[in-house]
């Protein structure tokens, strides 16, 4: 949508009047729903083919470590796996509940494009939705608590991502605290403390994106004997909870709350139950990606984290501005930053802000998984002209 509206002429496409380009939110949501329901159909087919799986739709509630009530029907299970996921954390902003707000769940189901939106939270959900709605044409104002968006990421990259959001028209405020919310005359508002004073901002929609907790409501976890670890389910490295016959995986355990982590955990929990293998999760090398454009993807330690752990580090960087491919696709922005131990050469971290960073990161992931250096990336032949050449240049810069 934004490419057609904002960049068609640059790519030589004629006949498009940017003012006449509009976005049909309900059509986009319907398209998304069609894709999702196709995926769900495949899931049901695969479940149907597995003779050992009985599927039940309903809410499960433990009445003991082995007894579960599912919408009134009692079953017994010698072992259980909690794959319950997460939900938005309750956030104590006075007046927010009364004012009415949406979370990530509703943000993908809106029928109409809002004229204006306030995004509360500068983490990955916040930046993804802020950019998405801004590109659709919503006036987005965003409030983060930290001095920059994505505060746990490599500062050079998250600062740059913040600049990109601002250039695209997101009214981004950092180092802020939202102290109150409300609704008045059909518009919602927030009171925000920033730079020592309080200001009021208004918008049609408030989107809350400030972290997630385990989805444990009415699950009967205390009856099951499962203890919590703060807002998450407590589980050991074999994914076993405090109840010896109950395991837990994914977002519910906190830490790296990404779908691919849950998908990784799933078979390990199953193996540990059925085969009693005592297999431990290996979270040494878990990549993550933030699906903005350009994408931000990372794995391992930041430079500051590596130094804090006592490493003397070597850093190699390369810019996408020098990539012919990035220029050709119109996204010559961002950089690759690799961090290695100066003594051993072992790769400690990789950070990419740039086009297809979510794909490019895996070359770094593979090298790190094998406790390798960046030498194989630096020496091996990369196809020209591809974006992967930027990763190779960063690896060569590490030497």
């Amino acid at each position: 949508m934004h490419l057609v509206r904002d960049r068609a002429a640059e790519f030589g496409v004629r006949g498009i009047d940017p003012k006449s380009v509009s976005f049909d939110m309900s059509a986009a949501v319907a398209r998304k729903d069609t894709i999702v329901s196709g995926i769900q159909t495949e899931i049901y087919k695969k479940l149907g083919r597995n003779k050992n799986i009985t599927f039940m739709k309903g809410h499960a509630e433990f009445t003991s470590p082995v007894d579960i009530r599912i919408d009134g029907k009692m079953v017994t299970a010698a072992n259980s796996i909690l794959a319950i996921g997460s939900k938005p954390a309750p956030y104590a902003i006075p007046g927010l509940k009364e004012a009415g707000f949406i979370t990530n769940y509703e943000a993908l189901k809106l029928e109409e494009l809002p004229n204006s939106m306030i995004v509360i939270g500068g983490g990955y959900e916040g930046v993804e939705f802020a950019q998405m709605y801004a590109r659709y044409g919503t006036a987005v104002t965003m409030f983060g608590r930290a001095p920059r968006v994505m505060p746990k990421e490599e500062p050079e990259l998250s600062e740059k991502l913040g600049d990109i959001l601002r250039e695209e028209g997101v009214d981004l405020h950092t180092s802020t605290e939202v102290v109150r919310a409300g609704a008045e005359n059909g518009a919602r508002f927030v009171l925000v403390r920033e730079a020592g004073s309080e200001r009021r901002y208004e918008a049609e929609v408030l989107l809350l994106a400030v972290g997630r907790n385990a989805r444990v409501e009415n699950l009967g976890l205390s009856e099951a004997g499962v203890e919590m670890d703060g807002p998450y389910v407590g589980a050991d490295r074999c994914l076993r909870t405090s109840a010896s016959n109950i395991w837990s995986l994914g977002d519910a355990n906190g830490g790296l709350m990404f779908t691919h982590r849950a998908t990784y955990d799933g078979p390990i929990a199953a193996l540990n139950i059925v085969k009693a293998l005592g297999r431990e999760v290996d979270y040494r090398v878990v990549p993550k990606a933030i699906f903005t454009e350009p994408t931000l993807a990372s794995v391992g330690l930041t430079e500051a984290e590596a130094k804090a752990q006592g490493h003397k580090v070597r850093v190699g960087t390369a810019d996408f501005a020098g990539s012919g491919r990035a220029k050709a696709i119109g996204l010559p922005v961002g950089m690759v930053k690799l961090i290695a131990d100066d003594g051993t050469g072992e790769l400690l971290g990789g950070h990419i802000l740039g086009p297809r960073a979510d794909d490019l990161i895996h070359e770094v992931v593979t090298a790190m998984y094998n406790k390798g250096s960046a030498e194989s990336i630096a020496k091996s032949i990369h196809v020209h002209p591809t974006l992967s050449e930027v990763v190779k240049r960063a690896a060569k810069a590490l030497r």
Partner: protein, 41 residues
């Protein structure tokens, strides 16, 4: 004993599904429960 299972998996998202399939493929009798939509949100 049709309502007794070796493994109950609570949640049919992207973690619960591979867990259920793996347990079932290893021979366990598995119950998979979901109160919202399969595949996760």
């Amino acid at each position: 004993m049709s309502d007794a299972y070796e493994v109950a998996v609570i949640g049919a998202g992207q973690g619960g599904l591979p867990a259920a399939h793996m347990a079932a493929n290893l021979g366990a009798k598995v119950l998979l429960v979901e109160d919202r939509e399969v595949g996760g949100t």
